[in-house]
């Protein structure tokens, strides 16, 4: 794969995933989400209270997507998903709800990416990580990664994408 082809796939991946994030959170969690910025950085590690990691595998390579939320935002979205108040949401339900939202983002992204590139992609089931102030540090080594910063009604969350293209 040439550098130009890799960049084009990168852009399609960013578009597919960011569109899926906004569509899923808007329709299922009734939350207005806007993409604030996309940065290729190596000096920032997302820190949050609850995260979801999804593996991406395709003919052109493999990588991961990580979504990192603070606890109040995660609770707000899952409570809206279930039509209840955040105060009535248990920790287990919050984790299950984030897992389901990210599962939908994953499925939607996979469909969009496969249609946009003409290549089949597979995505793993999401792994949920819970713990105050944890960092998402693991990614394929020596692989550049993108950070997408989203605003959800005044609260920020971060999506991290890294993808290692096969030769």
């Amino acid at each position: 794969m040439t550098a130009t082809q890799a960049q084009a796939l990168d852009a399609k991946m960013v578009n597919a995933i960011s569109s899926s994030v906004m569509e899923v959170l808007s329709s299922m969690a009734n939350t207005n989400v806007t993409l604030k910025s996309v940065n290729a950085r190596t000096d920032y590690t997302p820190i949050g209270d609850i995260s979801a990691i999804i593996g991406i595998m395709g003919e052109s390579g493999e990588g991961m997507v990580g979504l990192c939320f603070n606890s109040p935002l995660a609770k707000m979205m899952v409570a809206r998903l279930l039509g209840i108040e955040p105060a009535d949401l248990s920790d287990d339900d919050c984790c299950d709800g984030i897992g389901e939202l990210v599962n939908m983002i994953s499925g939607r992204s996979k469909t969009a990416l496969s249609e946009n590139t003409g290549q089949p992609f597979r995505m793993s089931l999401p792994t949920i990580i819970k713990g105050k102030g944890h960092e998402i540090a693991s990614r394929p080594k020596n692989t550049p990664y993108l950070l997408m910063f989203f605003d959800a009604e005044g609260q920020e969350f971060v999506l991290q994408v890294s993808f290692k293209f096969s030769n």
């Binding site: 329709s27 998903l81 279930l82 339900d93 299950d96 389901e100 499925g107």
Partner: protein
């Protein structure tokens, strides 16, 4: 036989089953639940003639959606119960496979509560009740 029309929600996600229950409550339907296809067949056996619509996920442990659909359509007891796929699998090939397999509707996640209500009502053809 119950007077209240019943929906069977077949999904390994308890969160999705709760969302379906919210909509079923609003529409005046009762809800039965199963976490995979095998459980769904068991629930149907215990409620023969008492389920008006099945909402079926695609990817589930033990027995997945397409296998469950095949089993439902091969049994005289369940062949006529309308099935709506409710899944994250949105590829055209999946939709065609499900419709050819006998599914009446196909709704991809994410969906709005209005999407779900409309499709449920279309599926069960309210004049039947």
């Amino acid at each position: 036989m119950s007077d209240t029309p019943q929906i069977l929600s077949v999904d390994d996600s308890a969160i999705i089953r709760r969302i379906v229950k919210n909509t079923a409550d609003l529409l005046g339907f009762g809800l039965l639940e199963a976490g995979n296809g095998q459980e769904a067949l068991d629930v149907l056996k215990a409620n023969t003639g008492n389920v008006n619509l099945i909402l079926l996920d695609w990817n589930m442990p033990v027995m997945d959606g397409p296998t469950t659909l095949k089993n439902l359509k091969e049994s005289a007891d369940t062949a006529n119960i309308p099935v709506m796929m409710l899944t994250t699998e949105g590829a055209k090939s999946n939709i065609i496979e499900a419709i050819r397999g006998g599914a009446k509707q196909y709704l991809t996640k994410p969906f709005t509560p209005e999407d779900l209500s409309t499709r449920i009502l279309q599926c069960v053809e309210m004049d039947d009740f």
